[in-house]
Amino acid sequence: MPTVQSWIDVMESGQGQVYPYVGTEIWWLILAIVIWLGWHVITGISETEEHEEVCNRAPGPNDHKSNITNW
């Protein structure tokens, strides 16, 4: 059932919250925190992998200049 079924009822009752699924906020929050912490883990791992690849090849300080594109 939607939170708002009649805007007239909202105005007459002074109802504040109009978003869907009022009362489930804590579950959305837990999901968002899991996504946030997961982002850090994934980013840290992928950054380490990228660094290891560069370290294995050990390019010189000017090698990037041969990779400058013309487009």
């Binding site: 909202v10 002074g14 109802q15 504040g16 919250q17 109009v18 978003y19 906020e25 804590i26 929050l29 968002a32 925190i33 946030w36 850090h40 980013t43 840290g44 950054e47 990228e50 660094h51 690849e53 560069v54 370290c55 050990a58 390019p59 010189g60 300080p61 090698d63 990037h64 041969s66 990779n67 400058i68 594109t69 013309n70 487009w71």
Partner: protein, 457 residues
């Protein structure tokens, strides 16, 4: 909003803060341009992405707990007594202003609410301050910090430590305002000194870029693109106007709130004491002018430092720019710029600190100097219109400066960087720093170009 006048005031206030949020976004655009302009070609993409990703990281953590901290920690806890609740512990349920009600991410104030037009846009204005806090640190550490490490540091300064100092010293009910007479209308300390101190703490652990110091002598690693730096700083100035406006309450009956028995509608600063948007705009411009004039002289016309000094000038005068005369704002800005410029090079040479964009100087030193000067120039002024608050004094402002730069800035920055460093998660490997952080991305782009070119033949 049951009559036209109250509706007009409410909707005007909502729109006013909304405009400041949009204007303050330009600060972040400016910081991005500025950092890319300062970094070397082989680091552009990572430098940009580092500064960009602080936006979502600080935003979601500001929603999770940053805004809650601002409302919860006004008493320290244990360092002051709230004038609203009469409590000295955590402020959680006090008369509609408690953290549970305003900052709880599952509460009704933290969403679209037909009965509340202000909380969300006020949350957003503070969030933009938080981005700025993290972005100040971002510039200092370019070209050698891991993005994942910076993400942690950005959340620490953007959603925790600057928030605590704002709760303590940038809130009409904050304990530092009551006990110390701390006055910092446009955030010399609560944004700039704390972030400069935090950046310095990180830099001590992070160390300089390879080649910055040769045989102990500092070498200039100049901006790759000084014109991008210029545009970036102009955008930061522009966004700073929005910041100044956002620090005010646009329309408020201060007389009734103070129990003065008069009706006195005015704009107020964050402490709910009267000022005018008109006057602070004059002071903003005069302190900008003072900073530019002094910066041009001390740096011998160097564009990088001249533009940065304009910003430092505003930062230095900001603590008292709700009350200063415009000429005072100008001269205070000039004093602050000379001190921060000299201090930058002294610290660089003495302690081998590589602050790539001068963030510690422009924000940290100028902010601290601004607080100290404010203590003398506004000596004896009431810090609040409510009873029982200490007046502004030099020693109160000195204590405030130490808390901002040292206790909530340098110390946490140093400790968190130390933890990340001990886990091997702070600095990129030497090989990556030499090759450039964008090496693999540039190589992939070159391969794409060659493949497309061969297909076109």
């Amino acid at each position: 909003m049951d009559n036209e006048l109250s509706a007009l005031v409410t909707i005007f206030t909502e729109f006013y803060y909304w405009i400041t949020v949009v204007l303050m976004f330009l600060i972040h655009v400016g910081f991005c341009m500025y950092e890319v302009g300062v970094s070397r070609y082989k680091n552009h993409q990572h430098t940009l992405m580092k500064n960009t990703m602080l936006i979502p990281l600080v935003t979601i953590t500001w929603f999770f707990f940053g805004w809650w901290i601002y409302w919860a920690f006004i008493n320290g806890p244990g360092l002051g007594t709230s004038i609203i609740s009469g409590e000295s512990g955590m402020n959680l349920v006090a008369d509609g202003w408690g953290a549970n009600e305003l900052g709880n991410p599952t509460g009704p104030a933290m969403a679209i609410n037909m009965g509340d037009h202000i909380s969300g846009v006020f949350w957003a204005a503070f969030l933009l301050f938080s981005w700025t806090a993290a972005s100040i640190v971002s510039g200092a550490v370019i070209e050698r910090i891991r993005i994942s490490a910076f993400g942690v540091l950005a959340i620490a300064i953007g959603s925790v430590f600057w928030t605590i100092d704002a709760s303590w010293g940038w809130h009409f009910d904050g304990w530092m305002v009551k006990v110390l007479g701390y006055h910092d209308a446009y955030a010399s300390g609560v944004i700039h000194a704390v972030c400069g101190g935090f950046a310095l703490g990180v830099l001590v652990v992070l160390g300089p870029r390879i080649g910055k110091f040769v045989n102990g002598e500092p070498q200039n690693i100049g901006p790759r693109n000084p014109w991008l730096v210029t545009l970036g700083l102009f955008l930061i100035y522009t966004g700073f106007w929005g910041f100044y406006a956002a620090c005010n309450i646009p329309i408020f009956d201060a007389g009734a709130d103070a129990g003065a028995g008069v009706t006195f509608f005015t704009a107020t600063n964050i402490y709910v004491t009267p000022t005018t948007l008109s006057g602070i705009t004059m002071n903003f411009l005069m302190s900008l002018a003072g900073g530019l004039l002094a910066g041009y002289v001390v740096s011998k016309g160097d564009p990088f430092w001249t533009y940065s000094s304009g910003l430092a000038g505003i930062i230095c005068a900001s603590a008292g720019n709700d009350l200063y005369h415009p000429l005072q704002a100008m001269i205070i800005a000039m004093v602050g710029v000379v001190i921060m410029y000299k201090l930058h090079y002294w610290v660089e040479r003495r302690f081998k600190i590589d602050d790539a964009v001068g963030a510690v100087a422009v924000h940290g030193y100028a902010g601290v100097v601004g607080l100290l000067i404010c203590g003398f120039v506004l000596w004896g002024y009431p810090s609040s219109m409510y009873d029982g608050y200490a007046a502004i004094t030099p020693w109160g402002m000195l204590a405030g400066a130490i808390i901002m730069f040292g206790v909530l800035g340098f110390l946490p920055g140093y400790v968190i960087a130390l933890i990340l460093n001990s886990a091997g998660q702070l600095r990129i490997p030497r090989e990556v720093e030499i090759a450039g952080q964008d090496y693999l991305a540039m190589e992939a782009a070159k391969k794409d170009e060659e493949t497309v070119a061969s297909a076109e033949q």
